[in-house]
């Protein structure tokens, strides 16, 4: 193999005595697609910041193009062709595509005045590089996530980029968009640009990465090729524990129906949906983005009142015209985007847990009863195994997995009969995922009816008793998770053959 474009040798990064990176070695070659994996807090972000010069390592050296740096600055990193695309893309939503593309370069060139014709020229060249078609005058805020990402990529490629680092690049993309991204990546690779993906999900980057580097607690665990990895090994390397992915679906006989949908319809989104959810059952619902899976959840939660058909709770028809109706009928919903829809990040864990049951914790004149509140918080923190020293700390101090448990705790505090979860472990690392799956099992075993909406296929197969498949707003199949493999399930979701019971 040729010389690596960039190597880091024995790099240690300590923050007030705590080692975020501990003697890490790492190489990336020109034209290589490399995946850096690790759980939240493993040191991935620190490593990116060392490579891009944001942090100067306490020990060790960085070798780039044969030149050694003990203290790399961000400017030197950029001059050497290192570009980082952060998870939020760092774009300006209020400005046009053209301006987003041209601004950065013009700022660093120290320009004082704006030459709009030149801006357009720069932008046209930038999108031509990866054959990206977009309206240069569109506001970036109006673009899809995938297009925003492509804008960020185009912008990064404007300089003479040799290493492109992408932080969690596929998380917010649909399958088709991921494919389009991978085409772009392959093209860049052919031009000798090295790509470093940072991810904690194997599935997302497995097919495209040529090598994997896995770190845990700041230490290098292994650098290996994909042939040597499967999900189980990957999870073991990341968590350092044996990884158990046996089914967590409840084993007991399902009880009587708690929730039934009959001929449910929502304009332009759902058509003639029929299903029954039983007590003590976990029902998986899946489908592509746009298949109506989130609309179905929101219809059941009263956010989008159904246009057709009826919903029965405990055998009785109910009208769900708002979230209040759903809560009154014992339905709880854990949204997909917990950060914006499910949590008040700056408020304490305790406040977040009790928010949905303030009425129950108040005395006759509506004043909050502190003792009962404290008892409730203690109970829920215990039950959900939320890892915190103090439940009065802000939710933002918790890891993703623990935040998700706070959302769960909040809704469980209302003692629902029916729990609907949308993407319950999005952005949660592998260890926490298992904990959440076991919690779902426990809740179902105690008689709750649970609906899990997810496109994470291993998760779907692990947690569900039955799986309903949505395509273009219609239920097209019911699948027994024990009878299908991941590949078969995946093919079904993307519209391949559908075995099993036809609806």
């Amino acid at each position: 193999m040729a010389e690596p474009f960039l190597s880091i040798r024995g790099v240690t990064m300590a923050f007030s005595g705590v080692k975020a990176l501990d003697k890490v070695d790492f190489d990336i070659y020109p034209g290589e697609v490399h995946c850096l994996a690790g759980e939240n807090g493993s040191g991935k972000s620190t490593m990116i910041k060392v490579i891009s010069g944001v942090y100067q390592p306490s020990e060790g050296e960085i070798v780039m193009d044969g030149k050694s740096y003990s203290k790399l600055t961000p400017i030197e990193a950029i001059q050497n062709g290192v570009q980082v695309i952060y998870q939020d893309f760092s774009v300006f939503p209020n400005l046009t595509v053209m301006e987003n593309l041209a601004l950065t370069g013009e700022v660093s060139a120290g320009r004082k005045l704006v030459n709009w014709r030149k801006f357009r020229q720069i932008a046209e060249e930038a999108i031509a590089k990866i054959d990206f078609t977009v309206d240069l005058d569109a506001r970036v805020g109006d673009l899809s996530v995938a297009d925003k990402q492509l804008v960020a990529i185009c912008r990064a490629l404007l300089t003479d980029t040799k290493l492109l680092i992408m932080d969690e690049p596929t998380t917010a993309l649909t399958h088709r968009e991921v494919e389009a991204l991978f085409k772009v990546v392959a093209d860049l690779q052919a031009r000798g640009i090295a790509i470093l993906f940072v991810s904690h999900k194997l599935e997302e980057v497995f097919e495209i990465s040529e090598r994997f580097t896995i770190i845990r607690n700041g230490k290098l665990v292994i650098t290996t090729v994909p042939e040597e990895l499967d999900r189980k090994k990957f999870a073991q390397y990341m968590t350092g524990r044996d990884y158990d992915e046996s089914s967590t679906a409840p084993t007991g006989e399902p009880g009587e129906p708690v929730l039934e949908a009959r001929g449910l319809g929502l304009k332009d989104a759902l058509y003639d949906i029929n299903f029954t959810l039983h007590k003590g059952e976990v029902l998986g619902i899946t489908g592509l983005l746009g298949s109506g899976r989130t609309e179905l959840a929101l219809t059941l939660f009263g956010v989008f009142p159904a246009d057709d058909g009826e919903i029965l709770v405990g055998g009785k028809p109910v009208v769900l015209k708002g979230i209040g109706d759903a809560i009154d009928n014992g339905i709880a919903y854990v949204p997909e985007d917990r950060l914006t829809e499910g949590l008040m990040l700056q408020r304490s864990i305790a406040d977040n847990i009790v928010i949905s049951e303030l009425d129950n914790l108040s005395n006759g004149v509506g004043v909050l009863d502190d003792k009962r509140r404290a008892a409730e918080v203690e109970l829920r923190v215990e039950e959900m195994k939320i890892a915190t020293a103090n439940p009065y700390n802000a939710v933002s101090t918790l890891s993703g997995g623990n935040q998700q448990r706070v959302v769960l705790a909040k809704w469980l505090a209302t003692n629902p009969d029916i729990l609907i979860l949308n993407g319950p472990t999005v952005g949660v690392d592998i260890g926490s995922k298992r904990v959440i799956h076991l919690i779902l099992n426990d809740l179902a075993s105690r008689g709750m009816g649970i609906i899990v909406i997810t496109d994470d296929i291993p998760e779907l197969l692990t947690v569900s008793n039955r799986i309903l498949l949505l395509q273009e707003g219609r239920l097209v199949a019911e699948v027994d998770p024990a009878s299908v493999t991941e590949q078969e399930m995946s093919a079904m979701i993307t519209g391949g053959s559908v075995p099993g019971k036809e609806h």
Partner: protein, 336 residues
């Protein structure tokens, strides 16, 4: 052409323009005096001070902040300068008052700028604080009182007119020279916002501050100079008001901030920062000025003016809030 028309129909400014036309026609129909030369000149005259303030408020709002200190800043700058000139028996040209007011406005603006660029405190809180400091200095340390006799050159500037317009009814109104000042400031700010990296930096900052930092904008420097500029524009507004009144009334401007911010928001500038046009700002100001000045023409009692203004603010901000929620909802449905 289709594209241009579509763009027009989506633009906030277009609808604001329509509203202004409708309101004008109603006033004309009821009073027959709206489209008279003297009324139009009166409106232009009344635009100058709120227009200058609105330009300053627009700059701050685009950058993602909000400034409520500009009336107090303007009052302090102009009061201190007038007091000094009157006490020293100044008889010279109007240049010196302008220079002093600009310098003092810049200094007080820099005071805002230092805090907003160094502290991670919302600008509303900072400028609420500095507004009180400014009016405190004026009313306490300088123990402000009304100054009824201005230096002669300032008074002359206030009376100077470009032309006089006389209506058929014999009413005469003068177009003040200060209108040129509004035009000049408007032109300069337009150029700065559109054709300088500093101006684009203000937009970038209002769109996403951390992205602006990563893109290499010197965010602190931009914020500091932004508040200096806004201080200068506000102080000029104060000077125009004082000269046109022919006296320095220290508390005359205080309380104008709500109306000015409302004009900016009515004009389509997003209160969250990052978007807005000067055309919109001027139209928003014009609408508010028309409502304030012309309701008397249709015989609406003056106390209803405040009611109408309040209604305009609610409708104006309400419309943009509804648009925002609609867009979000659409995006969510598209995203899913």
């Amino acid at each position: 052409m289709q594209g241009l028309l579509g763009k027009l129909l989506r633009a906030n400014e277009f609808y604001l323009f329509l509203i202004i036309v409708v309101v004008s026609l109603i006033i004309q129909a009821r009073s027959g005096q709206f489209f008279t030369p003297n009324n139009l000149v009166d409106l232009a005259n009344a635009m100058v001070v709120p227009g200058l303030f609105a330009i300053g408020a627009y700059l701050v709002i685009v950058s993602g902040g909000i400034d409520v200190s500009f009336p107090a800043l303007a009052s302090l700058a102009v009061y201190a300068v007038t007091r000094y000139l009157v006490d020293s028996g100044y008889q010279g040209s109007v240049i010196l008052p302008f220079v002093l007011v600009i310098a003092l406005g810049a200094l007080l603006g820099a005071f805002n700028g230092v805090f907003t660029s160094r502290l991670a405190v919302p600008t509303l809180i900072i400028t609420l604080g500095t507004a009180n400091v400014f009016s405190g200095i004026m009313q306490g340390a300088l123990s402000s009182v009304q100054i009824s006799q201005l230096p002669p050159s300032m008074e002359a500037f206030g009376r100077a007119s470009l032309f006089k317009a006389t209506s058929a009814t014999g009413l005469t109104s003068a177009m003040p020279v200060s209108f040129l000042l509004l035009v000049a400031v408007l032109a300069i700010v337009f150029f700065v916002m559109r054709y300088t990296m500093f101006g684009r930096g203000i937009f970038a900052l209002g769109g996403d501050e951390s992205s602006a930092v990563r893109a290499g904008f010197k965010v602190r420097r931009i914020k500091f100079w932004l508040y200096v500029i806004v201080g200068v524009i506000a102080a000029l507004g104060g000077l125009v008001r004082t000269t046109s009144m022919g006296q320095m009334h220290p508390t005359n401007l205080l309380g104008m901030e709500m109306m000015v911010i409302a004009a900016v928001v009515l004009g389509g500038t997003a209160i969250t920062g990052g978007t807005g046009s000067l055309t919109g700002v001027m139209l928003g100001t014009l609408l508010i000025v028309i409502v304030q000045n012309s309701m008397i023409l249709v015989g609406v009692p003056t106390f209803w003016q405040r009611f109408a203004l309040g209604l305009l603010i609610i409708v104006g901000t309400g419309v943009s809030a509804v648009q925002l929620t609609r867009r979000r909802k659409r995006q969510r449905l598209v995203a899913e």
